[in-house]
């Protein structure tokens, strides 16, 4: 770059492109980069050329062709596919979010691609093979909640990606073909740093895993699956004392003192261990083996561990530096009290139900547990809490004590469950949450909820980006309050609420400022969807039929599922039969794709 005399605001001297690109390259945040690209044409061009990391929040908001036309050289790509409610079986199988077209396009345009992170997408073995064969410098593969592939696909990744650092298939559905795919990592391969295969169901070829761990000195994250027995875990730990993130296999076998000693010794040699998970089926006999590492742990996932309160209390009492805890409701209120007094650095708490379908299990977990943690942990930011009762009083206490909350997801298991003290709705409680927690970005409501709470949310939820509603509200007013009030709302997902056409049509323009809106089992009519589709070309209004046939729907019919998202790519071409995208041509009779 030649030295150029630069005078601010001088029209005849322009800032050299290279310099601009250099400066822009320091800007990491996706939002900021997007803003930078909108300043002026020069900056748009600069960003086009130097953008290396790309985040696509909805794979159908844009097409692979548009991406490859705009950006010259992308090294890291993150794509999200299906809507969040797909996690709970609300999106029919075969809806879409196919990864292959994206990977094929990337293979042509960006052969230097290094990182691919996909969430809720359908990834086939063919796609994985393509990754292995076409991206020479491929380093990071993260498949979060994906499906559609088998261990054969993993084998091709293992065989071909010589520079792979990270292989993480968090909670994906993998067809386990019982091949020893791990053996496909060549003997010369030593660069593995992170391996998360905890969702695999069948047995791993342990010998191959052991050899892999042995020859990869930088391996710091290892999350094995349930099939790995305790004895083998001890062996693995012995080989990798540099471990920072460990996911165990089965933590249970009959009590054997020599095994205990071996395990405790291996753990105590892991001085760097920060995160512990797995712990499927725990035998209390072996739990103390973990104690040596507890004080260093910042993240602990016990949400699959059927450990009961007394043992949990003993364990948590040692974890003074814990920042994140995921646990089952076996912890009970008293366990949460101990947590609140021991773990003052706690930032995130998730309590999952051990018996979600039992209306009245014998577990002493109530709203009090959450209150203790909210009051006792000054750094608490993120909460996911399943419980069976709640009160406005508790919610108000939480809101007042912890205005720093940014994520608050409460799931009271019984729909329409009222305040257990007043028997009234929980409007005031949730209202207090949005009012006090000014930085609240994500909120999920449950229990008995009327339109009043949406008034509060619309009035106070100015930073709210994601809102999840189920069995809530009384009328369109509720939806209207939210759509008209929450300026920063990006994702809204609704199921089984009495929201109909009016609020939706009134706030149609709002929908273009959001990433997506999901409504299922509400009261939106087909006619309204058609109207929206006709009038809003930059929205895809997808009417998804699940049980009924898509043909012969009249305007008055209510739609089962509705998914509306903004897009610059037009109606998608890969929609299955049961998905109708409303556009300017939409008529009452479904046109087959």
């Amino acid at each position: 770059m030649s030295a150029v005399k630069f005078r601010a605001f001088s029209p005849e001297v322009t800032f050299p492109e290279e310099a601009l690109e250099q400066v822009i390259s320091f800007i990491d945040s996706h939002g900021d980069r997007n803003s930078v690209s909108l300043v002026c044409k020069a900056w748009y061009e600069a960003d086009r050329w130097c953008r290396r990391r790309l985040f696509i929040g909805n794979c159908y908001a844009v097409s692979p062709q548009i991406v490859t036309r705009r950006f010259r050289d992308i090294r890291s790509l993150t794509i999200k596919g299906k809507p969040h409610f797909a996690d709970y079986n609300l999106v029919p199988q075969g809806w879409g979010a196919h990864a292959l077209p994206w990977i094929a396009a990337m293979a042509e345009a960006y052969p230097a691609l290094e990182e691919l992170r996909l969430k809720r997408m359908v990834v086939t073995d063919e796609a994985l093979e393509l990754i292995g064969k076409r991206f020479v410098n491929f380093r990071v593969l993260v498949l979060c909640c994906c499906d559609g592939f088998s261990t054969d696909g993993l084998a091709s990744i293992a065989a071909h990606c010589r520079n792979l650092r990270v292989l993480d298939i968090f909670e994906s559905e993998v067809a386990d073909l019982r091949g020893n795919w791990i053996s496909h990592f060549p003997d010369s391969y030593t660069s593995l740093e992170s391996l998360n295969i905890s969702c695999l169901e069948s047995e791993l070829t342990f010998a191959a895993l052991e050899r892999l761990v042995d020859r990869c000195p930088k391996l710091t994250t290892l999350r094995v699956n349930r099939s790995v027995p305790l004895e083998k875990l001890a062996i693995l730990l012995d080989k990798a004392p540099q471990m920072t993130d460990l996911g165990t296999g089965m933590f249970m076998t009959e009590p054997r003192p020599e095994l205990y000693t071996m395990l405790a010794g291996a753990f105590s040699r892991c001085k760097e261990l920060k995160s512990l998970s797995g712990l499927w089926d725990v035998a209390p006999f072996y739990l103390p083996a973990i104690f040596p590492v507890c004080s260093g742990l910042t993240s602990l996932n016990l949400s699959y561990a059927p450990i009961h309160s007394p043992d949990l209390i003993k364990l948590l009492g040692n974890c003074k530096n814990l920042q994140r805890l995921w646990v089952l409701d076996y912890i009970e209120d008293r366990g949460l009290e101990v947590l609140a007094s021991s773990c003052k650095d706690l930032q995130e708490l998730r309590v999952f139900p051990s018996e979600p379908y039992d209306p009245d299990p014998n577990i002493a977990l109530t709203e009090q547990g959450l209150v203790s943690v909210a009051v006792g942990c000054p750094k608490l930011q993120s909460v996911l809490y399943f419980c069976r009762r709640m009160s406005n009083q508790a919610l108000v206490t939480i809101a007042r004590a912890r205005p720093t909350l940014t994520r608050f997801r409460l799931c009271i298991i019984q729909p329409h469950c009222p305040d257990h003290i007043t028997q009234g709705p929980l409007d005031d409680g949730f209202g207090a949450i949005v009012e006090h927690c000014k930085d609240l970005k994500r909120l999920s409501l449950s229990g008995l909820i009327t339109d009043q709470v949406f008034q509060h949310i619309g009035a106070h939820g100015k930073k709210l980006e994601m809102l999840s509603l189920a069995f809530a509200g009384n009328s369109d007013a509720g939806l209207h309050f939210v759509l008209s009030g929450c300026k920063n709302l990006k994702k809204l997902e609704i199921r089984d609420c009495p929201f109909g056409d009016r609020a939706l049509l009134l706030n149609a323009a709002k929908l273009e400022t959001m990433r997506s809106l999901w409504m299922s089992s509400c009261r939106v009519s087909y006619g309204a969807c058609q109207l929206l589709g006709r009038k809003m070309p930059r929205l895809n209004v997808e009417v998804i039929h699940e049980n009924s046939s898509p043909g012969h729907t009249s305007e008055e019919c209510t739609v089962e599922h509705l998914y509306i998202y903004r897009t610059v790519a037009g109606p998608r071409l890969d929609a299955p039969e049961f998905v109708c995208t409303m556009n300017e041509n939409s008529t009452t009779v479904h046109q087959p794709q």
Binding site: E355, Q423, D451, L506, A509
Partner: protein, 363 residues
């Protein structure tokens, strides 16, 4: 209609908080009285109920609306006009007058039956069916809670809650009832892993049926929980009425076995069975130790092995303690045994000589 302005105009067009805040109470109050009547799949009860609610309210609302407000418009930025604000404030009160607001829909009076017929919900259970099942179970479990929606055609929607509160000025509590029909429990696909977990009350069989995707737990977690509980059940020996399978491990053996304790009547039978099962694991050791040097395999060999100083039979009881087999009566043993382990005598320090002696005397 002019094309919509994207993005920038949003804030300007959204300034409806003022009228809303003021009219908030009124709105909520109004919405309590004038309820949505066109629920999906709602049964006949709603139609008559709806009509009574509608007819009382519709006159009122009609008078409040002017023609301009009935014009269907999309809420586009820049197209907001003052009357729109007032329209919004009447939003909930005019909820039910869809016929005025929506030229799309054919004129609908309070009779909802026509709407119902159009609803595509063939394969699903009717709302009232699902609601009855669900609500009954909840009602029985929690008598303090207001009575849920029940198909009594005579009652007004606003009064559907418990019979005590008959006042027309509905209170927030009633919101729940009104929300109920919309709470679509109509879809009740049983979730296979979990539905067999507990026994539902006899008089509410529908309580067992689950709503799809509720509570919101990922499949991976659901499957893991199911497997965990299965494992725990096995460990506790709760495998079924006729059998009591427990795991038997043997030191040095590559895998465990399971035995049905109910299949035996006494310790002798059990130990014979175990001997047969674990013969293959001990033969190698036996000959390598070269005690007798005989090649012939027989149960006697194993028996000698077990009654000799090589192995001791132990079990884990309900308290988690490891006990020597044979001390308690057989019935008590079956009740308390959770799993067994054939332990090497060298580990059973202090037990082995006594064990050997005991076996010899018993045999």
């Amino acid at each position: 209609m002019s094309p919509p302005h994207l993005g920038v105009g949003v804030e300007g067009g959204r300034d409806v908080t003022l009228p809303l805040a003021a009219a908030g109470e009124a709105m909520v109050g109004n919405s309590l009285e004038l309820k949505e009547h066109n629920y999906m799949g709602l049964s006949d009860c709603s139609s008559s109920v709806g009509s009574s609610a509608i007819s009382s309210a519709s006159d009122e609302t009609r008078s409040r609306l002017n023609l301009k407000a009935t014009e269907l418009r999309l809420g586009l930025p820049g197209s907001q006009s003052p009357e729109r604000d007032s329209k919004i404030s009447k939003l909930s009160s005019s909820n039910l007058d869809e016929k005025l607001l929506f030229p799309l829909h054919p004129f609908r009076d309070a009779n909802n039956c026509s709407l119902q017929k159009n609803i595509v919900s063939g394969s699903k259970r009717g709302f009232s069916d699902a609601m009855n099942g669900f609500s009954e179970s909840k009602f029985l479990a929690n008598p303090d809670v207001d009575v849920m929606l029940s198909p009594r055609p005579s009652s007004n929607l606003g009064l559907k809650s418990c019979s005590v509160k008959e006042s027309p000025v509905a209170q927030p509590v009633k919101m729940k009832d009104l929300a109920f029909p919309c709470a679509a429990l109509e879809r009740t696909r049983a979730i296979k892993e979990a539905s067999s977990k507990h026994v539902p009350p006899a008089n509410a069989p529908a309580a067992k049926a689950q709503v799809v995707g509720w509570p919101p737990i990922r499949s991976f977690r659901k499957n893991s929980l199911a497997t965990t509980s299965k494992n725990n059940d096995e460990v506790d020996g709760k495998a079924g009425p006729g059998a009591l399978f427990i795991k038997v491990s043997m030191d040095g053996a590559p895998y465990l076995r399971k035995v049905d304790l109910k299949a035996y009547a006494a310790y002798q039978e059990l130990s014979s069975a175990l001997e047969t099962m674990f013969t293959c694991f001990t033969i190698g050791q036996y000959t390598s130790h070269g005690t007798t040097g005989r090649e012939k395999l027989s149960e006697n060999k194993l028996k000698d092995l077990l009654t000799g100083s090589e192995y001791v039979l132990t079990y884990e009881d309900k308290d988690g303690d490891w006990m020597l087999v044979g001390d308690v009566p057989w019935e008590m043993f079956i009740d308390t045994c959770k799993r067994m382990r054939i332990m090497k005598s060298s580990e059973a320090i202090g037990l082995a000589p006594r064990a050997a002696e005991k076996r010899r005397t018993r045999n």
